[in-house]
């Protein structure tokens, strides 16, 4: 009776847990081990706490979609289980994300590397769209990369199964900088090409090594888009005037993208301009993009195992042993995952100078000026119902600061029995 075996299996005994590796949009993430397969996993404990509506809508979406989607370029949800009134999601372990790759100045991304990353991302997105799933939150930090250089899409908390003819969707999705103009204009009927605009932004970011269109709010974002790509004409995009929040902008001529992406080959320019097509109906699809000559022309896309990775991926083990290293090297600017963010990039030296103890959100916002606070208040993700926590998405662009000792221990003890794992090292400082 396989059925009965499966429903009665005690899954929490199967996974062991070690230290916390990050905090995602709706849960704390631990590194762990699947004792059945020997595979390293990431275990996410979903925040339940005082939620008066039960398990969060984003968690439901993520679980629903990832239970079905299995593809080499999509994060594998290995397991989901309940233990002591907490829901745990078990994922395959990924070392870092594309955000880290892009901002690691010591990494050189060749044309072939960019092509490789783009190819694997597009394959993941194509699999989503083929299976009627819109991701709706594509951005570098949601593209995970592992030590064996697999590239996988993650964070399906905003994903949606589409295809029902009568459904209206909320335009409140996708992180601002990666949001297509039709959503900024309030479109509530849209399709897979919204994801393609985001991919265009990621493509641009891979080439420029900085966000291409970093707006501060919806209006500013539209301004950035039109500055960067020129204003659309009625023949470019016949339906734009009928969108709910349409606003006319002063005309900007279309720039020559060759001058923006100076190192790009003509086929790359052609592909990115097709991703940045204003009319969503004319925008290139994931499938079309994959058969674009860009991918078949020389140089060939870098094979997954040759993609460059940040050095620190290989240092994490030793780094986690030393608290100071962890604090100064892996704490990244909390690029608010689903809120508009400041375009000002935080200087890393400032953070490490700030010292271990004082590293917290308030320091960061003080360092980055008022813009961050503004942006934190200005959430762009009020998707249908809820405002998700401001935080970085799974797995961990931000190495979470340990909380005060008491709070910390409370948290650890709650599921100490769970997965008979070792206790994470408590980083106590001796009071002097």
């Amino acid at each position: 009776m396989q059925f009965i075996q499966q429903i009665t299996e005690n899954k929490h005994e199967r996974y062991t847990r070690s230290h916390q590796i990050g905090e995602g949009t709706f849960g704390v993430v631990y590194k762990g081990l699947d004792t059945k397969t020997g595979q390293t996993v990431a275990v996410k404990k979903i925040k339940m706490g005082k939620l008066e509506n039960g398990i969060s809508f984003s968690a439901v979406r993520e679980i629903k979609v990832l239970q079905e989607l299995k593809h080499p370029n999509i994060i594998d949800l290995v397991d989901v289980f309940l233990y002591k009134s907490n829901v745990y999601l078990v994922y395959e372990y990924m070392d870092t994300d594309l955000y880290e790759v892009i901002r690691d100045q010591s990494l050189l991304l060749s044309t072939a590397d960019v092509k490789g990353y783009m190819k694997y991302i597009l394959e993941g997105v194509e699999a989503c769209h083929h299976n009627w799933v819109l991701h709706r939150d594509l951005k570098p930090s949601n593209v995970l990369v592992s030590r064996n250089n697999d590239v996988k899409l993650a964070d399906f908390g905003l994903a949606k199964v589409f295809g029902s003819p009568d459904k209206r969707y909320s335009p409140q999705c996708i992180t601002l900088w990666y949001k297509p103009p039709e959503l900024l204009y309030g479109a509530n009927l849209y399709g897979p090409t919204v994801d393609m605009w985001s991919i265009g932004c990621i493509f641009a970011e891979l080439m420029l090594r900085r966000p291409f269109l970093p707006g501060n709010n919806d209006l500013d974002q539209l301004g950035k888009i039109f500055q960067g790509l020129g204003t659309p004409t009625d023949s470019d995009w016949p339906d734009m005037r009928s969108l709910p929040n349409f606003i006319e902008f002063d005309e900007v001529p279309k720039p020559n993208l060759k001058q923006v992406f100076t190192a790009a080959t003509p086929d790359a320019i052609d592909l990115i301009s097709k991703m940045f097509t204003f009319d969503p109906n004319k925008r290139i699809t994931a499938k079309e993009a994959l058969s674009h000559p860009y991918f078949s022309n020389q140089p060939k896309p870098t094979a997954p195992h040759d993609l460059p990775l940040p050095k620190k991926v290989f240092e994490t083990e030793s780094a986690s042993a030393s608290k100071t290293i962890v604090a100064s090297t892996t704490l990244t600017v909390p690029q608010p995952s689903r809120v508009s963010s400041t375009s000002k990039v935080l200087n890393f030296d400032d953070i490490s100078n700030a010292g271990d103890d004082s590293l917290n959100l308030s320091t960061i916002s003080a360092l980055s000026g008022s813009t961050l606070n503004e942006s934190l208040n200005h959430s762009h993700l009020v998707d249908d119902v809820e405002v998700p926590d401001i935080g970085t998405p799974f797995p961990y662009s931000v190495e979470k600061r340990r909380r005060s000792e008491d709070g910390d221990e409370e948290m650890e003890n709650e599921d100490n029995e769970f997965m008979n794992g070792e206790r994470p090292p408590v980083r106590r400082k001796l009071a002097m």
Partner: protein
């Protein structure tokens, strides 16, 4: 997602009706064992109470009893969703969740109405038809006599999700019916006055199919075709549906057989719905009273044990900490 790659196919799809019966028997007997073997932790004070707390073999439900009560409740769930004016996909998923949960659990051990409400609430989340729990429960209060504490739903939400193995994508026949009636290839050869007419009629049959095990045994597309097949009355239209099936899917014989089997299952369910269950229901109510008392008692016991453990753990922690601090101070001074 292709149906044969879905969790529904991999986990909730069976090749034989007998397998379902086998599972139901196993679930029923393990629940029976648990209930009969229950022993109160607190010693009974008076003889009177003791008698009341005991479940006798006769008080328990058989597999068939359970099934009859279940399908009556499936119908209730359908009605509830209709009264709420929920979209069809919310209704379909809610019912599927409800059926899946009680395939793996016995109705003797759970509050069936609360599980039903929880399934509907989860379906609202899974089908992007989200509403606040308080809002949802207000609606429930409007249309039912149920008195529900939101905390209970929150607790059951996790229990149900686990019972569903966290599978929340449901393939349901409503959608397939919609697709079929909008395929001119099919509808052009049917003798019907309007597409809408046949759509509405098939929807009703799909709703009836919820009361059968068809969803565990046939892909939603087949259930949808069977519904269409059953609502056209003239021979020529029925023939055109079969021809359409042939052209589209091949293996006509197998498909025709399945269509018939589904139609038979529907007939059977109608008979079952007609059975007078008042005696079984009375038995069920009585049994549930005792079992839920037992469960409450057990929970109290467990909580006590957990609390005790927690206290011990805390004490140990405090002790450890004071030792550590002492040492730290020593080290510092030394």
């Amino acid at each position: 997602m292709p149906f044969n790659k879905s969790s529904q196919y991999k986990f909730w799809f069976f090749d034989k009706e007998e397998k379902l019966l086998e599972i139901r028997k196993a679930i029923n007997s393990s629940a029976t064992d648990r209930i009969l073997s229950y022993k109160s932790a607190s010693p009974p004070k008076e003889g009177k109470k003791k008698k009341k707390d005991r479940v006798k073999q006769d008080d328990l439900l058989s597999v068939d009893d359970e099934y009859l009560i279940l399908i009556k409740n499936i119908q209730k769930a359908s009605l509830l969703c209709m009264r709420f004016n929920f979209p069809l996909h919310v209704e379909a998923s809610a019912i599927m969740f409800f059926k899946r949960f009680f395939l793996g659990h016995s109705i003797m051990e759970y509050d069936i109405s609360k599980i039903m409400l929880t399934c509907i609430y989860i379906s609202c989340k899974a089908e992007d038809y989200y509403q606040d729990l308080s809002h949802f429960l207000a609606k429930v209060q409007e249309v039912t006599t149920a008195e529900v504490d939101p905390k209970e739903i929150l607790k059951l939400e996790l229990v149900v999700l686990q019972g569903l193995q966290f599978h929340m994508l449901v393939y349901h026949p409503y959608r397939s019916v919609f697709a079929f009636v909008h395929d001119p290839e099919l509808t052009k050869s049917l003798r019907i006055s309007s597409v809408n007419e046949i759509y509405e009629a098939s929807k009703l049959i799909v709703r009836q199919s919820f009361l059968t095990d068809a969803s565990f045994l046939f892909p939603p597309g087949l259930i949808a075709l069977s519904s269409l097949h059953q609502c056209v009355v003239d021979d020529s239209s029925q023939q055109s549906i079969l021809r359409y099936v042939q052209a589209k899917f091949g293996h006509q014989e197998q498909v025709t057989n399945s269509l018939n089997t589904i139609a038979n299952m529907l007939q059977e369910s109608k008979t079952k719905m007609g059975v007078d269950t008042s005696v079984i229901e009375k038995k069920f109510v009585k049994l549930r009273k005792i079992v839920s008392n037992q469960q409450k008692e057990t929970e109290k016991e467990n909580n006590k044990i957990a609390e005790k453990k927690e206290q011990e753990r805390r004490d140990k922690k405090t002790e450890e900490r004071s030792i550590k601090e002492e040492q730290d101070t020593k080290n510092l001074l030394g």
